[in-house]
Amino acid sequence: MIDISRVQKELQDCEKDRDSSGIRVCPKSDNLTRLTGTIPGPIGTPYEGGTFQIDITIPEGYPFEPPKMQFSTKVWHPNISSQSGAICLDVLKDQWSPALTLKTALVSVQALLSAPEPKDPQDAVVAEQYMKNYQVFVSTARYWTQTFAKNSSLEDKVKRLVEMGFGDAQVRSAIESSGGDENLALEKLCSG
């Protein structure tokens, strides 16, 4: 049994200072078990300017068990899986405390973006690049932010896909049928 009132209260609190924090939490379903969190990429990092979406699942035992969080926006970071978006963060595991909230957890995730922990990696490839070739890491992370975490206009998306060699009409219909998701549209175009 989920403590609905607490989750609702958390959503209200989060909404109150969304302008100052930039962090948002929106319900995906009516029963408040699945939510979407949004965090801005921290300024002064390769993630600056991006907006990152995080899938949140509220477990039965919330807030006595930690919420499950996973990036749905692709991100290049040593502690976040570049494949699945899984996050390696202690407060989401054994350091969780019922006194924490979805917002504080998202703040921790945001802090993780500014301060990677390559010594405790989730994604070994990214971590190795971070350790051995920091400059390449920064440019890859920035490129991923540009590509996946930017809300670009429809015309920008069309332009980019047309540049790849697809027809204008074909591109527009693909974008429309994938709900504006550029990557999904690209997949559709490629699979014909």
């Binding site: 009132s5 899984a86 405390s97 006194a99 504080t104 010594k119």
Partner: protein
């Protein structure tokens, strides 16, 4: 050389020297200081057993019982270590590390006023809130749900406060009272976890590994490297909790066991999907996340190589692990596999043969004892038949040594463990030395078995006397040979190794130590005036004159078992 040595063991048929024999036999008992005094702790005495440790800590630090328990759980019931920390680092350090906070003066709140609980964000009346010793205050409902989650996750022993980054361990009385209001079952579970911590977290206490579980635990005093027998009759190695396996070392036995069960699906699954925790050795399944895995017992380890790590395990040290490097040529491996298989079959067949023999002999023990009662009814010159039971026991004991000597030899002289430890010549010399001893032991064990199987109950007086001499002589010879084999293994074979830690439980002539029932000091004091409880066959020994009263508080298991030895009292005393 062989016959010369044998002459040394054998005695003439002269009656005087035979009487002297029993005394000599007692001198063969190991006199080393490693003799343990193991105790059986039953479900009923589990609480009493930990009381002594709790009381020591409570008295020294003037603490309540649950605070003492928190400290002891944190220090894995090692009272000496706990006291050492106290002396070196002081009381505050000791307490804060264990998450123990003693009540300070926190602002009191009126029970009728409404307060807000930070967890459920509801307003709750003051009397429905609880403040922990650390000062954090939340509503009873939230505390109870937090406790329930922790207990169900198996974290009963260290339930931390709900506040973020608060290291304090919740007061067990609060946990118990809040949980039992809504979920009495869970409160019982919590209590059981706390009480069983004395076994689970204590390196000197282990559950008897019998299946189905007899419910007992065994506590040893100083040496963890020993073999014990639980009051349920199960004999096991205290170090690794598997059946007694000396002279095989624990790691050899572990390898051998796995090798023998290779085909089992479960074992396959476990090897593929789990890794043993380097601290508590329980298989851990990785359920996602990074390669830094934390076992329920609190130990972190590297999933890639299975080595223990601290919290500060670094990525660079993961990439430094040699576990990622492929070391051998596949071709060569295949070729070797075939040779290895034949080698394994050789040792396994012999190991199995002795295990099978011992099973057959086990069944024979009833008929042999039947023969004794027939002899007793006949009016023979000879009145004492303890040599039969002694011989039988010696047979069982040495069969077991023989069977486990094969897996030992498999690993000792194989390439798996000590490839770089010995040169080929050295290995050959050592192998010959060992195999000679093994062979001698084998021959004598078979002879002993043969004599005990003879229908001596039908024999005439003089022939019975002859059999008796043979059995007694062979018993002594076999005992000496077993002892020599252990010494050879300990000193000449394992003792000279540089790498790896292979230790074997010491040989005990009188068999694996049978743990005695735990009696708390209070109970023992009450029993002082009662006569010592003696074993079932203490009457008809040839050395009753040597018996002395047993130590107080240690009383023998009164179980009627076939294999009890007629030990002189001083041996029991030394235990």
């Amino acid at each position: 050389m062989e016959s010369g040595e044998e002459d040394g063991y054998y005695y003439t048929s002269d009656q005087e020297s035979l009487d002297g024999l029993d005394h000599d036999q007692s001198n063969l008992q190991p006199l080393s200081s490693t003799v343990n005094s193991a105790k059986v702790i039953t479900k009923e005495s589990l609480l009493a057993a930990q009381r002594e440790d709790l009381r020591r800590v409570m008295e020294l630090l003037s603490l309540k019982e649950h605070h003492a328990r928190t400290l002891l759980i944190h220090h894995r019931w090692d009272v000496e270590k706990l006291f050492a920390v106290l002396v070196e680092k002081g009381k505050d350090f000791l307490f804060s590390r264990a998450g123990l906070t003693l009540v300070q003066d926190h602002p009191t709140f009126s029970p009728s006023s409404m307060m807000s609980c930070d967890i459920c964000v509801d307003d709750v009346a003051g009397h429905l809130m609880t403040r922990m010793d650390c000062g954090h205050c939340f509503c009873n409902n939230c505390w109870a749900r937090h406790f329930a989650v922790m207990i169900n996750e198996g974290k009963s022993k260290r339930i931390r406060c709900m506040a973020y980054k608060c290291n304090a361990i919740c007061d067990e009385d609060v946990v118990r009272s809040l949980v039992s209001k809504t979920q009495p079952d869970l409160a019982h579970k919590f209590d059981r976890f706390l009480i069983e911590s004395y076994v689970e977290d204590n390196k000197m206490v282990k559950w008897c590994p019998s299946t189905p579980h007899c419910g007992n635990a065994i506590r040893v005093e100083d040496d963890e490297l020993c073999e014990v027998e639980c009051s349920c009759g199960f004999q096991f190695c205290f170090s690794c909790s598997y059946q007694a396996h000396s002279p095989c070392s624990c790691s050899m036995w572990e390898l051998w066991r796995k090798k023998c069960h290779d085909e089992s699906e479960t074992v396959n699954w476990i090897t593929v999907h789990t890794k043993p925790c380097p601290k508590c050795y329980k298989p851990v399944e990785k359920n996602g996340g990074c390669n830094l895995v934390t076992c329920l017992c609190g130990q972190s380890f590297c999933w890639l190589c299975g080595e223990a790590t601290g919290r500060d395990h670094t990525w660079s040290s993961i990439s430094g692990h040699s576990c990622g490097r492929y070391q051998e040529d596949k071709e060569k491996q295949l070729e070797r596999a075939k040779r290895d298989l034949y080698r394994y079959m050789h040792y396994h067949n012999r190991y199995k043969a002795h295990i099978d023999s011992s099973k057959l002999e086990d069944r024979l023990s009833d008929t042999i004892l039947e023969k004794v009662s027939i002899l007793e009814r006949r009016q023979l010159q000879l009145k004492d038949f303890s040599w039969v039971t002694n011989g039988l026991h010696r047979l069982f004991r040495s069969r077991r040594v023989l069977s486990y000597s094969y897996p030992f030899a498999f690993y000792m002289f194989g390439e798996e463990l000590f490839k770089d430890e010995m040169s080929a010549e050295e290995r050959e010399i050592k192998q010959n030395l060992f195999e000679d001893q093994q062979q001698q032991l084998e021959a004598n064990v078979e002879k002993l078995s043969q004599f005990l199987e003879e229908p001596f109950d039908q024999f005439a007086d003089d022939k019975v006397v002859q059999i008796r001499i043979q059995v007694i002589n062979l018993s002594v010879a076999v005992d000496t040979l077993c002892k020599k084999m252990y010494e050879c293994i300990e000193n000449d074979l394992l003792g000279s190794l540089q790498l790896g830690i292979h230790n074997i439980a010491p040989y005990r002539s009188n068999g694996i130590e049978r743990a005695s029932n735990f009696i708390s000091s209070r109970e023992a004091a009450g029993e002082k005036r009662q006569p010592p409880n003696s074993g079932w066959n203490s009457e008809d020994t040839s050395c009753s004159s040597r018996k002395r009263p047993r130590r107080e508080g240690v009383y023998r298991n009164n179980q009627t078992t076939l294999l009890d030895l007629n030990l002189p009292a001083d041996v029991i005393e030394r235990k």
